[in-house]
């Protein structure tokens, strides 16, 4: 094999000084060869991004590289002058970031921004910058590049912006491309496009890619090798195939176990309890010891040696920890009957033709010139104790639909029957009383809590506004804290003192204390790491069993859906295109959009060579939906009929509802 493009030896980076000093990257070594994609995988705060920034020497001012060596081909990057390093950035090393929206300059056309990179790093094309920009845009698959290059970032969609970022990184013909969570902010269908593009560009240019991600699916999709980071060090490196068939380090194994899958439906997920240790102390033993199920005294007392070589190995005292049958820590057993034989399930929520339109006003007199049809005729029904997942890409109106059901936004039309009561007609005090029965959990627990209130005040609020007396409140709070797994002394503290997962537990406690019959969960685990996600999903499932709560689960994460949901409704541009049981939808999707959505989800299994149905372009604007079937401009199977009329929703033989002319 040829020489590595990037070789990192014993890289150590620290931030701050004295007592505040933390070491986010310690003793990291790896190499990447030409044509190779290496993934750095780990949960947030494990030092992945810091490693990338160290390579680019773009660390924050208080950080410094204290030890190690970074070789890019023949040059030692750490020895270069700042001036020479500037030539490398965007030259031999390109970088793309998670947020394409904030990484582009909003007041410059994208053509000029790419042109700058060309001028700086591509001597051959300095005379013909604009032609080169056009070529680059064409390479990254932007349609009509001659016109697009004169547009500003806000005129482009998220996926397009990420393509622009990639074009910019490619301008210097990099040998190494560092991609820091390049698709995390994108929808799955767009993610599939971008990942495919990166692979294809790699084949053309032979560049090495360092991919930073937390998504095992993405790793399986594009990476050749993987390095698992935990608490600032690499705990395992392996070829992707080996890694997925047999992860060696206990942390890697736990990551897999924490992943929600359909096969795990009837049992709790194996969450990784505890948290990443603080990185400000010297470690005397294994860094994973506090969360490792196989930990022994030795693990506490001695730092484990690296087993194997740099390309494939792991850091553990034991050669085969966890390969023998694991110590099962089942917290609860999901009773079979409650999952299947619940025949007395009755309709709890019945939504008919729900519409939420936002007026577009223009001019001096604020005339209404049109409507954004965020939710445009949605039918849903949900029975007691069941989970209905509402899935779709961002901007399809799923969150607005949730708010419409809750009457947080008054629907424009349609009916929401809850327990036989029409919610859209309720007003004032009657509505406020009814609110106790339908609660809400948000994606970001931090912003969903008043930072000036203690945990006790936050949890008690529902009881206070619903008029429950003080003594009763105390009892209920203690009970609920115990149930969601928070320590009793949490009451006097403020939300910012807790970790993300704990905060989500507080949010669940707040929703739960009113003993609601329905909880609308709006992406409740999207902001959390896999291990914490598993904890929260377990909790939600357990609560559902105990209390027969129904969930309306709004999400784009189909793995979570497969684990948790009973029924699934797929939403596109304000309408439900297909609705049925989770097996029907996930195993045998009939609607072309559902099929495309499912095929775009990266599966954490490198052997599954699935066919990705690539969707053209982006979702149209809900202010101006296409004629006929809303999906027809992107549908690979569109017929003439699809352009003419919107397909009516029909009940299929197997009980699912479908809106498509094809079937």
């Amino acid at each position: 094999m040829d020489k590595p493009v990037l070789q990192i030896n014993n890289l150590t980076t620290s931030i701050g000084r004295g007592g505040d000093r933390v070491v986010p990257v310690s003793n990291v070594s790896f190499q990447i060869r030409q044509d190779e994609t290496m993934a750095l995988l780990g949960e947030s705060g494990c030092g992945k991004s810091m490693t990338a920034l160290s390579i680019m020497r773009l660390l924050p001012p208080s950080a410094e590289i204290t030890d190690g060596d970074i070789m890019l081909e023949q040059s030692h990057l750490l020895d270069l002058s700042e001036r020479a390093m500037r030539a490398e950035r965007g030259g031999r090393v390109g970088m793309i970031f998670q947020e394409p929206m904030t990484s582009l300059n909003p007041v410059m056309t994208v053509g000029r921004q790419i042109g700058e990179a060309v001028k700086l790093h591509d001597a051959d094309n300095r005379k013909r910058v604009m032609e080169r920009v056009e070529e680059l845009l064409d390479d990254v698959g932007i349609p009509d590049p001659a016109r697009r290059m004169h547009e500003y970032p806000h005129q482009l969609s998220g996926g397009m912006k990420q393509r622009i970022m990639i074009a910019m990184a490619l301008a210097g013909r990099p040998r190494l491309l560092i991609a820091d969570e390049p698709t995390t902010a994108l929808d799955v269908t767009i993610q599939a496009q971008v990942l495919q593009l990166m692979k294809q560009l790699q084949q053309q240019t032979g560049m090495a890619i360092l991919l930073i991600t937390h998504d095992l699916g993405v790793v399986a999709e594009v990476a050749d090798r993987v390095g698992i980071m935990y608490a600032g060090e690499i705990v395992e490196t392996a070829d992707v195939a080996d890694f997925f068939s047999q992860p060696r380090h206990p942390y890697s194994q736990r990551l897999f176990e924490a992943l929600p899958t359909p096969q795990k439906r009837n049992r709790p997920l194996q969450a990784i309890e505890g948290q990443v240790p603080p990185l400000n102390a010297e470690f005397g033993g294994c860094r994973f010891v506090d969360r490792c199920p196989y930990a022994q005294t030795l693990c506490r007392e001695q730092i484990p040696q690296w087993r194997g070589d740099q390309n494939s190995g792991y850091r553990c005292h034991f050669e085969d920890a966890g390969s023998s049958d694991a110590v099962a820590t089942e917290e609860f057993e999901l009773a079979e009957e409650s999952i299947q034989g619940d025949t007395r399930a009755q309709a709890l929520l019945d939504v008919t033709d729900l519409k939420v339109w936002f007026p577009i006003r223009k001019g001096v007199f604020h005339r209404t010139v049109g409507h954004v049809r965020a939710v445009d005729g949605v039918d849903l029904n949900l029975s007691t104790g069941k989970t209905l997942a509402l899935v779709g890409e961002s901007g399809c109106g799923k969150t607005t639909a949730g708010k419409g059901i809750l009457q947080l936004i008054r629907p424009t039309a349609g009916s929401v029957m809850f327990n036989g009561e029409e919610l859209t007609q309720l007003k004032g005090r009657a509505l406020r009383k009814r609110r106790a029965d339908i609660q809400l959990i948000f994606q970001d627990p931090a912003s969903s809590m008043n930072p000036r209130m203690t945990v006790e005040e936050i949890i008690a609020e529902g009881l206070v506004v619903q008029g429950v007396g003080r003594e009763q409140r105390q009892l209920r709070i203690a009970e609920i804290l115990d149930q969601v797994g928070l320590p009793g002394d949490a009451v006097g503290r403020y939300p910012h003192e807790f970790s993300g997962g704990q905060r989500q537990r507080i949010a669940i406690a707040r929703a739960l204390i009113l003993e609601p019959q329905l909880i609308i969960c709006d992406e409740p685990t999207s902001a959390l790491d896999v291990s914490v996600q598993a904890q929260i999903l377990n909790l939600l499932k357990e609560l559902q069993q105990q209390r027969q709560i129904s969930y309306l689960f709004i999400t784009h994460n189909l793995a979570v859906v497969s684990y948790l949901a009973d029924d699934v409704a797929v939403m596109y541009l304000g309408r439900i295109v297909e609705q049925g049981s989770v097996e029907q939808i996930l195993d045998e999707p009939l609607h072309p959009y559902t099929q495309a959505l499912l095929s775009a989800v990266p599966v954490p299994d490198p052997d599954s060579k699935r066919e990705v149905i690539r969707l053209q372009g982006d979702m149209p604007s809900p202010a101006n939906p296409p004629s006929g079937c809303y999906f027809h401009p992107r549908c690979p199977q569109a017929m003439d009929e699809c352009r003419r009329s919107y397909p009516a929703g029909r009940e299929m033989d197997d009980g699912r509802r479908l809106s498509c002319h094809l079937v």
């Binding site: 947080l408 609660q439 008043n450 506004v465 707040r510």
Partner: protein
């Protein structure tokens, strides 16, 4: 360090203001032999045109300044915050109307409006407070409105509505506590501004009436003797400067402190 000096000066000012009735001073007593006398052992800061003790009049003036500053800031901050918060939270036609009123108020130079008002209402401390407050609330209202607008879309407000909270509870429990920090800072700057405004109006003869002492009126009276007895204007000037500077320093310090808390 700076903030401790500032705080000491403000405390001294407040102590003087509060203890003034108890102190053995007689700011209105005339000492004819000592007219325009320079500072001496008996009268530390000298005497004014009627032979009254400048030091004692400064202490009496401190009380006036304190009363005016705190009541004005209290009235305008309370009124402004509530008007602004409601306007920003409720939105719609009400917000449109209130915004226009705020715009109109801001289009006038505030001090001019206060002068006009004070002239109509007639001189006196109460009228002074009314005049300054009726222009002072606008700043708080504008700040509170923008805060309320950015906060009302926060999810914790949505969560509170979903729990069944009423409008009043949301405004007072979830909105106002979160906008306290910037408003407190604004109020600390407001104290400085009000003291200057009071001095200005009194200087123009629209505020405190003789023989009562206020810092502004002392400067006005001293201005006539500026060449003969400069200390008449200089000492109240220094007093105003110290208090205003301290209030501003404290405001700066509070802004930094409260910001850190917010970022946590």
């Amino acid at each position: 360090m700076k903030q401790w000096i500032a705080m000491a000066i403000l405390l001294l000012w407040i102590a003087a203001a509060l203890l003034e009735p108890l102190l053995p001073i007689s700011p209105d007593e005339i000492h004819l032999p000592a007219i325009l006398a320079a500072p001496s052992a008996d009268f530390w800061l000298g005497n004014d045109g009627l032979g009254r003790s400048v030091a004692e009049r400064l202490i009496a003036g401190a009380r006036i300044a304190f009363v005016v500053a705190f009541s004005t800031v209290l009235v305008s901050a309370l009124a402004g915050t509530v008007i602004g918060a409601v306007s920003g939270y409720v939105g719609g036609a009400l917000d449109h109307f209130i915004s226009r009123v705020i715009d109109i108020m801001l289009a006038f130079p505030g001090i001019l409006l206060a002068i006009a008002l004070a002239a109509i209402l007639g001189p006196g401390i109460e009228n002074l407070i009314i005049a300054i407050s009726s222009v002072g609330w606008v700043g708080y209202a504008r700040l509170a409105r923008s805060q309320a607008m950015s906060l009302r879309t926060r999810e914790h407000i949505t969560a509170a509505i979903a729990l069944g909270s009423g409008q009043g509870r949301i405004v007072f429990r979830h909105l106002l506590p979160l906008m306290m920090a910037p408003l407190l800072v604004e109020a600390s700057f407001g104290i400085a501004a009000v003291i200057v405004a009071e001095a200005g109006l009194s200087f123009l003869g629209l505020g405190v009436q003789p023989p009562q002492a206020s810092w502004g009126s002392m400067i006005r009276e001293g201005a006539g003797f500026l060449l003969v007895a400069p200390h008449l204007a200089i000492f109240p000037g220094i007093a105003i400067m110290l208090v205003v500077l301290s209030a501003n320093l404290l405001g700066d310090w509070m802004r930094d402190r409260l910001d850190v808390r917010q970022n946590m």
